[in-house]
Subunit: 472 residues, 2 copies
Amino acid sequence: MTTHTNTWFYYLLFILFSLVNIPIEAQDAQGEKPNFIIIFADDLGYGDLSSYGHPSIKTPYLDRMAEEGQKWTNFYVAASVCTPSRAAILTGRLPVRSGMASSKRRVLFPDSKGGLPASEITLAEHLKSAGYNTACIGKWHLGHKDAFLPTTHGFDYYFGIPYSNDMDRTSQLPYREYLMQADEKIKTEDFNVPLYRNTEIIERPVNQNTITKRYSEETINYIKEHKKSPFFVYLAHNLPHVPLFVSEEYKGKSARGLYGDIIEEIDAGVGDIMNFLEEEGLAENTILVFTSDNGPWLTFKEKGGSAGLLRAGKGTTWEGGMREPALFWGPGTIKPGLRHDLGSSMDLFVTFSKMAGLEVPTDREMDGVDISGTLLNGNPSTRKSILYYRGTEIYAVRIGKYKAHYITQGEYGEFGKREEHEPPILYNLDTDPSEQFELTGDYTDVLNEFDLILEQHNAKLVKGKDQLVERE
Amino acid sequence: MTTHTNTWFYYLLFILFSLVNIPIEAQDAQGEKPNFIIIFADDLGYGDLSSYGHPSIKTPYLDRMAEEGQKWTNFYVAASVCTPSRAAILTGRLPVRSGMASSKRRVLFPDSKGGLPASEITLAEHLKSAGYNTACIGKWHLGHKDAFLPTTHGFDYYFGIPYSNDMDRTSQLPYREYLMQADEKIKTEDFNVPLYRNTEIIERPVNQNTITKRYSEETINYIKEHKKSPFFVYLAHNLPHVPLFVSEEYKGKSARGLYGDIIEEIDAGVGDIMNFLEEEGLAENTILVFTSDNGPWLTFKEKGGSAGLLRAGKGTTWEGGMREPALFWGPGTIKPGLRHDLGSSMDLFVTFSKMAGLEVPTDREMDGVDISGTLLNGNPSTRKSILYYRGTEIYAVRIGKYKAHYITQGEYGEFGKREEHEPPILYNLDTDPSEQFELTGDYTDVLNEFDLILEQHNAKLVKGKDQLVERE
């Protein structure tokens, strides 16, 4: 009889736990602070995922994020090139404020002396003050001198390449000529980039063929070791930035060719992370974000990605340069749905700080807004406008559906013709997402709103000292 | 005790039926023949659904079809304009064979005398021979003279407009000038198009504001009355072809403007049909297909749709003209998944005939292939090539990933410059879906394959008598 009762008791217990589906251990240990994982691709375009319309790339796990979570279609980064975009996502501030945008140089190079100033507060640093474990896995590109490495900016752990994978090139061929060769001719050993663990170089040149896989694995290992307390992992893939490399397992897997192979390897890593979170009972208390630093590098043709129906790509302030896929996943946390709301990578700092019970810093201008109402409850986004900076200048502004181009310029390299527009060129991005049909007629009221936004912004703007310009 | 046993018995029965989830009545009445519903939009582009990447149009029900069913990304129609594309989907044959493609006129007009010849066998006619109830709801455009109406071609029931919604125009303004006016100036009464029920005109001019909604309702009503035996419904919306009209309920609903309102009203109709099928226990025995007749009419700017990342649109043999969204839904029948396989609207005739237990006609050349292995079991598609006809000429051919353009020409109207290419321009559509990067180098083997396909095709081709050219 006792045995029988015990069996029923355990059976009942099993059913109850199956229903709530949250292992008690994890829940207890973490309290109410959610974990955050930001996966940041490099040069991946708006049109490069199947859920964003690509016809020959398969991204089942990213599509699953879209189906079970939120898929945003008007989500922006703060710059159309690496360094400033990365400064912005980690600080919640426009890169012009931190000096991580420059009028002289687009990004940091191996000969650069500067980096993200110590006075800047990164999301990692901020979350640490609330007891988070923090890791940066992947591309940093905010300063590779000792004073600027991730470990100086609030990350407990760093594993990755401190800048772009096309740097430290040892081939004597001109840059573009080298990279435009057949895929077989591009060798990982021709890029003498270092791989760091914390502050030590552990491999040089990095074997870039395996780097995507290793980044995903490092992420899972870090979480495995730190799952008992809240964690923040910033997983910034070096790819699909040129040169393109992929592991043997994924080579030739995608119909899209090498570029697609890489996206599919990144996607598989996302799937591994999702599965791991679910197996460990962490999924309900973790917010997983996927986006990219800027649009596709179109001048590299099939070696670059696709902005889908958006105009132009990396390096420009057209939509293709700065609008990115953005997926938010957290079963039971993120309210599933398609979101046409405006959002920015800079909103993550403010939103995640709030969700971790932290105030945002009040001693500086913040450019992010709290979008947790949208993520958790499906409320309309609190973001109303987007500033499109190129270097240290505003080229365009979006307010609601309207976008005004004050300056237009093609991609850097061969298409860089700059044109100023007074009055600005106006588009309705909701009815004309491809920026094809310039609005004519009387838009005085709309233009007045733009003037006001710009006036308010410029009145409070203090440009940081240019961190990109100094060379060794 | 008896009561108790009865309760348990019914409880068990309930659980069993819940598990198999097929209402017995429907299953019994229909035997094993599946029902078919083809929803065919007009001028809807590859990029116009949210599941195909549109950033400001919401299509939750079509997206649900994509998630729960199959989403095809390389699915083609047989012509880039209305009449020939419609002849092809209903006969499973290239329109050049039936005379429904012409070198003189693109489509049928109200002054046309011709139509789909009686000798052609439509899918409706064929399925009727297996006991199907058949209805055509919507745009016909295969002949509006009595001899050519849907009821002469195997459809038991017809409700719809027999040609395009921009015809029978009563305004004296030039066509394009009229249509490019502000939306408020375009009036449904300026198009004196008739609405038929079977062979009678019941309304003229049609109130186009409510026509989309009425088509969806007619579909549901028809199924309601014929659910006891297998049915085939061909629901061919007249919209979003210009002029654009929408019901009051959907006006202003979409951020995309009037064009988006219409897509969202069509989507809602798809949702109503899906919900109805589920409520009636018909979903498991019905295959629902959604696609469109040709690409977006780009010369109408924001009044036309988007081909997403594909090149050009309606009227051309670039991908944007002939590649369409294609969704297949049937819970428990269609094997869910993203399909990069080649498919054609002409395959539906052969595939559905086979699924209904019918042989395909052997007295004529059929251009469709059986894709049921892909739909039901997820096998690779049996289709290996696509012919891109414009009028009665082959402009391009796709074999696997390669597409060869023999002739290129822009949209009709102002962009119609025709160029012949010898050797043909070659693209790899898997790595370059936007047809941007012409392949150079030695593709002799590939070109030989193209020669062979064309030789085989032309050897057996008997062009039908031009049905579009004769006017009253």
